[in-house]
Amino acid sequence: MKIKLNLDKCIAAGSCVMEAPEIFDQRDEDGVVVLLDSDPASELAPLVRRAAAACPAGVIAIEE
């Protein structure tokens, strides 16, 4: 699966990090999302989908 982020929308809530810390992190200076793995293994798909749904700003788009 491919993950695309719209960083302009990120409000640094960190919901994605709480759901999938293997895939997402936050920048030190402003907490904006950092993608650790842009093409994760398919077993991680449910985690990534939960992270995308949990994001309060619609930052994460998934192409499966």
Binding site: I11, G14, R27, D30, G31, A53, A54, G58
Partner: protein, 396 residues
Amino acid sequence: MNPAPTTPGVVIIGASAAGAAAATALRQRGYQDTITMIGDEKHLAYDRPPLSKQLLAGTQDFEFVQLLTESDVTDLDITLRLETRAVGLDIDAHRVELDGGEALHYGKAIIATGVRPRELADVSGIAEAFTLRSFDDALALRDRLTSETRVLVLGAGFIGLEVAATAVRKGCHVDVVEPAPSPLLGKFPAELTERIRRQHEDQGVTFHMERLVRTWNTDSHGSLSSVTLDDGTELAADVAVIGIGTVPNADWLEGSGLLLENGVRCDASGVAGTDVFAIGDVANWFRPHIGTHMRVEHRTSATEQAHVVAAQICGAEVPGTDLPFFWSDQYDAKWQMYGHLHPDSVLEIVVDDPEANRLVATLRRNGALDAVVGLNAAKQLIPYRRQLKNQLHTAG
């Protein structure tokens, strides 16, 4: 009454954040029957938090806030009825009554009708007075906020403060009038609201606390020219923004038999009545961790509650509730709060770095952590967020 087949579908009343999340969650969980969604706006579902920020500033447009596109609606097989208003609910007959006389049958109904801004009767005839809730409100107000515009903000809540910050950045002169002694009363720790006020004052905003507007003065063309406060102060004003609170859109349910108390009263899983759920800003859910009902207008709550209800409808395990979270962006300040604010919570500032404009504060009762607040401290809040989340999952 139209004769309609009693298909066991879901009807979602409300096509904004909560409604859109419910439709999406149902399909994600494999729901196969019809999903009908009705909304009274003309736009497809969109996100409201950016309306007082990027939309008002004019740096972004509809695409930035859109939650569902037309192709999403097709892919999710949603029967979407926009500019359609529900006027009644017949629980026994399983029918949603629409404006115009039509009725929709449902197997399950999900109420997601949100809130509307409290209107001020005094300004009903004034074209330059705005509330800010919808995308159309944001566009109309955006076009009025230009350099040197004198803006009167009524209400020092989140809407008022965010509008003030956006307006200042557009070169406006802003006066904020508020009957309470401090901004965000009851919504944010009192010790921190003074910092927020100072951030605005440093940018030239003038606060008139413990004041009301006594008269709205118009010129010979009927346009707003100034306001007179209850202490006699006159403030020039070209535009007014009324941010004095919200009213749940539950009026249409009067007579339905549902309990309408601070919105639609529900149990801990969003059940309002037989085959009827309510989610989002309109919904007043029972909170087992606190022991009372609480209606929460946080953006994250809409999505979370939508998933809880979708799971029930699909007969699946209901996900646990998440940590309450909200944020506010004003100037270069990104404020965030996780957890619950109790009246008895004691605030402790644990990080205070004026150079980085960064702050972290905990809220505790008898040492136990209730909430954490950050200013430009998203990453620094992580350990506290983890602790709060663990507490949530171990609580009874």
